[in-house]
Assembly symmetry: C2
Homo-oligomer: 351 residues x 2
């Protein structure tokens, strides 16, 4: 039996509902496999702005830094759009403070689910990729200036920043289909040339067993739509990764099924579904908890080293989908809590 | 009868073949409608590097600056990938020198063509958008630094730069379905906040009759795939526009059908198909000239003020497609020059 400290950041909109589903899954896993999870709930995003006028309060930060893993629901909403302090600042702050430089976004389209995709089925059926996005560098965290008539943002990358996230991609590829596609705009910008050189050097020095190809970001956006099955691990910088991972996320036809992990150099990480806070359906028990549950499975695997438990949760999720216990966004009639409860029941059955 | 000076920059790969088709169309239009086109061919890109060691030679620049309009084939190819001078530098240089700050990329999917799209037909059939991309600012032309371990690129925008390209978008919207979607990443970067504020101000002051909405670049990448029919004019900055316009270009299922215009504050402009130099099929008379012919139609309309002539060319292109005279990429068996000749014949018939 092991003990794990989990911080939960429910956030805004449907965040609390889906985070609650994640907590139930963890509690059930703890119960069934005999682990001791302790939970601490902290504020982030809009709710934190409303309550303590800070999207990332100091006690949230302290708790995250002391946790074994963090589960986040969602942040943001139109309510804060015109406010000077923005919910998203909380998200950027927790990434920076925890040193979460690698964002992992798996995306796959099982043949049985391809009918949901906006793409034609033969193009997308069987696609299975992992996007590894650099998360604490580039334009997102660069120096900014602003005058009445001019604004600037700086995009900066160091060899070390590129190397550590490239390493994550190569390591992941070795456990998958052994291929990395590194995405940049090396024909125009300097940071992309540094990116490409660094990836090439690391590849030659330590990962020459992994197949490596380079793609320009504009071409990659096309490839994701025209031949998504050709990719295994996609490695890219922060802004390109933001765009490409969201683009890839619509291919399965429901973003409600996708989770993500943000990792640093320790085993600790932050886990969140890739959907937003969906304020229009908040509080109605309609939100699909599956993306959060997939994120919990990634947490079990990457931060807590509980791969058997992660396999069980994955199997439970699959079984519930097969049984047709689906929320509205997937064409079903179940409430979010019915799905969450069904997965918890399946954890006990599958274990 | 009017006289027009046209500079042709054939460039690399299939560039000369498709540029030749463009020239034939212009000659035919001149013949039929009694205009006097004079042509001057100049080097750009890889061929210019190979010949005079400069991707954008001074005499090319002088000719472009003196022309009424410029037609470009394509630049680049793997041959120059590892060379210090790159063909793309020629493209960036001509944009900057001619002051071409607005890149116009129309994309539409006629219901009869929707079967070609990688998207499901009901999602994409009837989509009809114009992407207006800022072309001489942002990361593309910012200050760069490089040391052994660090690289930076600066993204800079001024109010004036945003205003002039936004104006192009609003004006275009008035002639279309009267809607502009402005794309930025205002929740993270400063240049995007300047962008959004400037677009809002200009809209309020001069274009409040046009519907305006804002989208974040990551969301926009999703929307283009899930609901492309919802957009009319899409306005965005240089790098985002590069990515989004390429993404949009695959929706019709053949990038061989799409043209583009790059415009400055005078009527002059540069016109080019959106496809690349396709070195694998160069010299085989297989390249589809339709993208170049669409670009020529844009040239007639935007730079030469010959809208009747442009309508005729558009009708000729439509007639040839309807007649099934198609290159391989569209499932046909015609050669590039057969298509080009068929369009020229149709110009005479349709006029
Ligand atoms: C909310 C925003 C700052 C964030 C980002 O752009 O990183 C989000 O889009 C994401 O991808 O997690
Ligand atoms: C070749 C390259 C510099 C260029 C760009 O990125 O602008 C191209 O991709 C384009 O979109 O015209």
């Amino acid at each position: 039996m092991s003990a794990f400290k989990i911080v939960i950041l429910p956030g805004d909109g449907i965040g609390p509902e889906v985070a609650g589903a994640g907590r139930l899954a963890l509690e059930t896993v703890g119960d069934v496999f005999g682990h001791d999870f302790t939970f601490e709930e902290k504020m982030i995003g809009g709710i934190a702005i409303d309550t303590v006028d800070d999207p990332y309060p100091a006690d949230t930060d302290a708790a995250c830094l002391a946790a074994d893993a963090v589960l986040l629901g969602a942040v943001g909403g139109p309510k804060w759009d015109l406010k000077p302090k923005r919910p998203e600042q909380g998200l950027l702050a927790v990434r920076k403070s925890m040193g979460l430089f690698a964002n992992l976004r798996p995306m796959d389209v099982a043949p049985s689910q391809a009918f949901r995709s906006p793409l034609k089925e033969d193009i997308v059926s069987g696609a299975d990729m992992l996007i590894v996005r650099e998360l604490t560098g580039g334009l997102y965290f660069g120096k900014r200036t602003r005058t009445e008539t001019t604004a600037t943002d700086e995009c900066l990358y160091t060899v070390e920043e590129v190397e550590r996230v490239a390493r994550v991609a190569f390591e992941a590829a070795r456990k998958r289909r052994n291929k990395v596609t590194s995405v940049d705009k090396a024909n125009v910008i300097e940071t992309s040339r540094l990116w490409r050189e660094t990836v090439n050097k690391l590849h030659a020095a330590e990962y020459s067993d992994v197949e490596l190809e380079h793609a320009l970001v504009d071409s990659m956006a096309m490839h994701l739509v025209t031949r998504p099955k050709d990719f295994d691990v996609i490695l890219t910088e922060n802004m390109f990764g933001d765009i490409l991972s969201d683009l890839a996320s619509v291919l399965p036809g429901s973003i409600g099924l996708l989770g993500s992990a943000s990792l640093g150099s320790t085993g600790k990480g932050l886990y969140e579904p890739i959907h937003g806070s969906a304020p229009d359906i908040a509080g109605k028990d309609l939100a699909n908890p599956m993306g959060t549950l997939k994120s919990v499975s990634m947490m079990l695997r990457h931060s807590l080293n509980l791969s058997k438990e992660a396999d069980t949760l994955d199997a439970a999720i699959e079984a519930v989908i097969k049984a047709g216990i689906l929320t509205r966004d997937l064409g079903g009639t179940a409430s979010g809590s019915q799905v969450s409860k069904a997965v918890a029941d399946q954890i006990r059955i599958q274990a």
